[in-house]
Amino acid sequence: MKMHCEEVQRSLEAWLDRELNQSEAERVGSHLLECPLCSEDRRQLEHLQDALRNSLEVRASGLAFEPFWSEVRRRILEQKPWHVQFLDWVRFTLYPARLTWAIPVVIVFLLLILSLEQLVPGWGLGPGTSNLAAVESIDGHGLNVAVFRESKTKTTVIWIFQNQEGEDEAADESAPGDNTF
């Protein structure tokens, strides 16, 4: 299919930049061979591109690119200090979209911790896990009674000081004088 001049002029820049596909490029090329008007447009456009390229090359030759690339390489290879890495991590973690997930996760986690001791007794965390017993009331019925709570081993001891005849007297002789603990 033969191309019209208007169509060719619209595609001329893309043709010069080799951005057209093969069939389109061939059609534009054959039109340019036949049409002096479009061929003149092409010549002017090529002239303009050459002028621009020359001007840019002259300006670019005066610029020192090596320090720029060196700095880019240095920044890529640079090891960030720990506090900068930490701040980067905080910024990444506290990104609002992530926080919206974190809130329910934290709530569910806390609920699990609070209920796990009920479901799995003795797992070690949660409320009421200290082995220290609390003595609410005590009555020795006339005997001396001592309550001792040792925090290091989490041990609670209730001790009855018996002072009776017979067996108890024998015990008093052999036990450490005052039943100390």
Binding site: T153, I158, I160, Q162
Partner: protein, 155 residues
């Protein structure tokens, strides 16, 4: 707007998690039905330096009581419903009754009574951790003293 959309999306897993947690929390709320009470009767004396290896788990606790020798005389386990008593025979004509009274915040309330024949030696109410224990000692026996390790576990 983006934050609001994210929040709305986050409610879906949150709701699902809560739906899964509700049966667990419900089970936890219902609480245990019975209590397993364990009594370890230990004879402490200064007649030797023997330490019964069966008491190795309690060694640090027993070291609080400064005797040289510890021997496990017997271990007794009974299950007791709430507000019901479990009775244990203790050497020397003694007996021990334990009544589980309540359970709150993973702590059991136990009413404990030690008797010498019919005569009460001690009445106490103790709150201890589920699966925890406390020691009750002092009654003289065979040249030493008896120490009772009283522990309770919900069932």
């Amino acid at each position: 707007m983006k934050l609001l959309t994210s929040l709305l999306r986050a409610t879906i897993p949150f709701s699902l998690s809560l739906a899964l947690l509700i049966p667990m929390l419900d089970a936890a709320e219902k609480g245990p039905q019975t209590v397993q009470v364990s009594i370890g009767t230990i004879l402490a004396s200064n007649e030797s330096d023997n330490f019964d290896p069966r008491l190795s788990k309690m060694k640090s606790q027993l070291e609080v009581i400064k005797y040289r020798s510890y021997r496990l005389l017997r271990e007794q386990v009974q299950k007791a419903p709430w507000q019901s008593s479990a009775a244990f025979e203790i050497p020397g004509g003694r007996s021990l009754t334990v009544i589980p009274e309540g359970y709150r915040n993973n702590r059991l309330s136990l009413k404990v009574r030690l008797l010498q024949g019919e005569k009460p030696l001690l009445d106490t109410t103790v709150q201890l951790r589920n699966r925890g224990n406390f020691l009750l000692g002092g009654p003289a026996h065979e040249g030493g003293v008896l120490i009772l390790s009283i522990s309770a576990t919900t069932q």
